[in-house]
Structures are given as C-alpha cells and as structure tokens.
C-alpha cells in the first residue's frame, strides 16, 4: 500500500506576480492515507490543493498525480484522472441555481455521456443514487430543495453527497469547515474521515481549526511560507511547535 503514491511533488514552485505561494515544495502522499495540512494563512495551502488537482501548474518542479505529470497531461487523460479526485472547497461547492438533486447527481458528470447529462437536467437520472447519497448525509428530505434554502452546514453536506456519488479515489478538502461553527465542522470532518475509511480512499484536508485534528488523521503536514515546516503524527504537535508555525496568528487561533 505504501509503495503506491497518489501525489508526488518535487521541488514545486508557484508564484502569483511577485509573491511566492510555494517555494520548492516536495512531498509524497500515499494511497489510503488521511493527511491534514495546517499552517498560517498565506502559507500556500490553497495553492497546493489547486496544484494537486491539476487546475494550476507549477512554474518549476513537478506535480505527479497517479504517476502522471500534470503539466504534460492531455485533455482526455486529465479528464479521466479528475474523475478520481473529489474536491471540497470552503465555499462555491454548489451551483446555487440548480436544485440539490442536480448538484448531487453532478458527481456523475465524469461518467455520463453528454446527452444523458443534459437530459438529467430536465429529468434527473439515477435518482435513487442521489437519494441514497443524501440519506447518508441525513438530508434525504432536501432532494428537491434549492441550495439557497439550506444552511451553510447543510450545503457542505450536499457537497459531501456529491462526493459520495462521484466515488473518487482521493478527496481533497480545502478548508471545508472554515465557514462553519466548531460543532458542525466536527460533523463534516467526521463524515469525510468515515467516508475515506469505508471506501479505502486517500483524504487530504486543509485545516484551520486544530481541535478537529484528533482521531481523524494519520499524518500532519505543516506549511509555512510555501514550504514544508514540519511533518509528523498529530499527537506530536505541541505548543512551542505551533507557536513557531503560526507566529502572531497563534493567539488568535486559540482565542475562540
């Protein structure tokens, strides 16, 4: 299992204008791992995630996804690989103008042929599959609701239901709970972690709330100023380390 890397980054750098988001970052994520990425804001966490799913390409160095260099991938291979990567953002996870049922069934877009996808917008296809996914996130009764009628936590759960339909091999969650309160955030992280365990998936979560680390992750990677600052087991994190990592942000982090 350990010999099967899902992501390999080698000295990857990415800058936006004059600002370096990532500087010579190297790391490997293996199949089936559950990894949390932490670090202060501006450390390059979101950029890292966008590199991993092939939306951005590094300026130098390489990003390998299932042993393919994302920079040299053709459109069709990229599409095939993207099906295997599920992404959860902190916001913009749903299309607000489409009903929950379409937002959930969207998980099938990588598999469905275009005519079926278009027809599904008029007459939802594989409805039972959407029902089952929503049942797992306890939102079965919201099948025909508009996303704008749901609370923030419910919207994130609908996005999770889409991931259940998509059945990706890897789930990347970019601060999925930063806009929720701690209790709802814990629920979402629990769901993500349970999903990953049940399906034997790789899970990468970018976290801002450190209380949610316990019990759900096998490895923690701390980023600072665009490179790896520390890497290890979650229980090895201690106060001096976090203070060094977060600097001024540290006090704010534990204020609430």
């Amino acid at each position: 299992m350990e010999s099967n890397p899902v992501f390999t980054l080698e000295k990857a750098s990415k800058s936006f204008g004059n600002n370096f988001a990532l500087q010579g970052l190297s790391l490997t994520i293996h199949h089936g791992e559950r990894v949390a990425i932490i670090g202060p804001s501006g450390a390059g966490k979101t950029t890292l995630f966008r590199l991993l799913c092939g939306v951005l390409h590094p300026d130098s160095g390489t990003v390998n996804l299932f042993n393919h260099d994302t920079k040299t991938l053709g459109t069709s291979t990229l599409r095939r690989l993207r099906k295997e990567v599920g992404v959860l953002y902190q916001s913009d996870n749903l299309i607000p103008q489409l009903r929950v049922v379409h937002n959930v069934l969207m998980g099938n877009l990588g598999r469905w042929a275009l005519p079926k996808a278009l027809w599904s917008l008029l007459w939802p296809q594989e409805l039972s599959c959407a029902r089952e996914a929503l049942r797992q996130v306890e939102l079965e009764e919201k099948l025909w609701a508009m996303p704008t009628e749901l609370s923030g936590g419910q919207q994130q759960r609908v996005a999770l239901a889409r991931l259940l339909v998509q059945r990706p091999k890897v789930v990347l969650a970019d601060e999925p709970v930063s806009q929720l309160d701690v209790r709802l955030g814990r629920e979402i992280i629990q769901l993500l972690s349970r999903m990953a365990q049940e399906q034997g998936n790789t899970l990468l979560v970018n976290l801002h709330t450190l209380e949610l680390l316990e019990g759900h992750f096998e490895r923690v990677i701390a980023l600072k100023e665009g490179s790896v600052f520390w890497e290890g087991k979650p229980d090895a994190l201690d106060e001096p380390l976090l203070k060094a990592l977060y600097g001024k942000e540290y006090t704010g982090l534990y204020a609430h």
């Binding site: 939306v55 459109t75 993207r82 953002y89 913009d92 299309i95 607000p96 877009l109 996808a117």
Partner: protein, 274 residues
C-alpha cells in the same frame, strides 16, 4: 506598490467630455423652425392635428377585426422569431464564448488552433447578423421567399440571433471561473461545464435580457411589419399605378404621410391593398 494615485477614471472623463464637445460642434444644429413664429405655429398645428387624430380612433367593426387579425399575425411572427433566435443564439454563443470554445485547460497545438478559429468565426457571423438591420434582412428574404409573416419572423430572428448570441457569450464569459471550477474538477467536458456550471450561474441575467429582447422583438415585429408594408407598397402598386411610383420615391411618400395627419380610413384602405 500602490502608492501612486490612479488617474485612469479622470482620463476617461476628459476623453468623454472632449468627444461630447466635438460632437456638439461638428454638426450645425438647425432649430430655425422653432425660432420663427410662423413656422413654429405650423409645426405645433401639425402636432396638434396628429394628437387630435389619435383622440378620435377608428372603432369601426371591420377595422377592429382587421387590427385583431394583424395583431395576432404580429404576435405569432414575434414569438416564432424569438424562439428561433434563442435556439440559434445558444449554438452561436457556444462558439463565440471563450469560456466554452477555448476553455481553461491546456490544449494541444491543433486543438488550440481549432478552438481559436471557431471562436473568431462565430464572432464574425454574430457581428454580421447584428450589423445588418432587420429590414435589410427582410428585403433580402422577400426576394427569396416572398412577402408574409414568415418573412418578417425570419428577418427578425436573424438580427435577434446576432444580438442574443453576443449578449449570451458575454454573460457566460463574465461568470468567474472559480465559481464553476467545482464542475470542471468533476472531469466533465466543456459542454457539461456549460450546462451544469456556466449557464445556471448566468441564468438570471440571460433570462432578463432575453425577456427585454422579446419585448423589443414584439415592437420590432410591429415596426418590421410596417417597414415591410411601406417597402412593398410601391412595389405592389407598381403594376397598377406606375405613374404614382414615378412621381414620388417611396421615401418622399413616407415623409408626406408622416408630416400630415392621416385621412380617415387611411390604414384600413392601405392595409387592404396589401
């Protein structure tokens, strides 16, 4: 690096002001009609006569029936035109929208070339459709399929397609790519991204603009039909009373009719001719 005060907006204001002054001085504005009291009273007299003519509408049963039939004709032509234009504009907009035809993912040399070409070609077609006025389309179509509501509908549909395709593609391109990245990331193709991401996100503005355009097409249907009638009147009459056509150009005939109030039964008589 944001220490310098930006002057861009002021530069734009100055440019607009210069253009406005230039436009005002480039043309000689003739308002002598309003200055001269004799001409002014004539002008107001004409206006009053028009308004008076409106005050006593023709409510004759035959005329009303005729109007009703023409209204139905106009409505159905406008509805058909709108329907055809929306379908054609959606297809054309897919070509001319950069977010759809070019997309955000890297392509090979051939693919890049093909998609750029599609985009430019669609934009050219859309500009031609928009640039040619609807009555010119009508004249061309009359030559092709003859007079009738269908001609009007098709002429309207052609120019509407140009306008709608332009607006649809601009609205689609203005949706922030970050908002539909969630659909892109699912491994969907560009048309899938359009149907599940871009189109729903732009739906509000697309809908309201289409409704405005539909209203305009109903008015356009009316004026388009009138244009057709005016254009065709001398043509039709040409056979019967060539002397009249020889005496006045349609343009002069138009002016005469506009400046003096219509005689009673004017519209009924004329429409009867067509």
């Amino acid at each position: 690096m944001h220490t310098k005060r930006p002057w861009g907006a002021w530069a734009a204001i100055v440019v607009v002001a210069v253009l406005l002054v230039g436009a005002l001085t480039a043309v000689s504005w003739d308002i002598s009609v309003l200055r001269d009291s004799a001409q002014r009273s004539m002008a107001f007299g004409r206006m009053g006569a028009w308004l008076l003519a409106f005050a006593s509408p023709e409510l004759d049963h035959a005329f009303l029936q005729h109007c009703w039939a023409l209204t139905l004709q106009t409505l159905s032509a406008a509805l058909l035109a709108t329907f055809l234009a929306i379908i054609a504009a959606l297809v054309l907009a897919m070509g001319s929208s950069k977010a759809v035809s070019v997309g955000h993912d890297k392509q090979g040399v051939l693919g890049r070339w093909a998609s750029r070409f599609t985009c430019s070609l669609s934009r050219l077609i859309q500009d031609v459709l928009r640039g040619v006025p609807d009555f010119v389309w009508a004249v061309i179509l009359v030559a092709l399929i003859g007079l009738g509501p269908l001609t009007g509908a098709l002429a309207l549909a052609l120019s509407m397609t140009g306008i709608l395709a332009k607006v649809y593609s601009e609205l689609w391109d203005s949706v922030a790519p970050k908002r539909y990245e969630q659909v892109r990331i699912l491994g969907s193709g560009r048309l899938g991204i359009l149907a599940y991401g871009i189109m729903p996100l732009a739906a509000r503005s697309v809908q309201s603009f289409t409704l405005v355009q539909k209203t305009m097409s109903y008015c356009g249907g009316k004026s388009g039909a009138t244009t057709l009638r005016w254009a065709s009147w001398p043509l039709r009459l040409g056979g019967h009373c060539g002397s009249w056509v020889g005496e006045t150009t349609p343009h002069q005939a138009n002016n005469r009719a506009i400046f003096s109030p219509p005689p009673r039964n004017f519209f009924l008589a004329k429409r009867g001719n067509i």
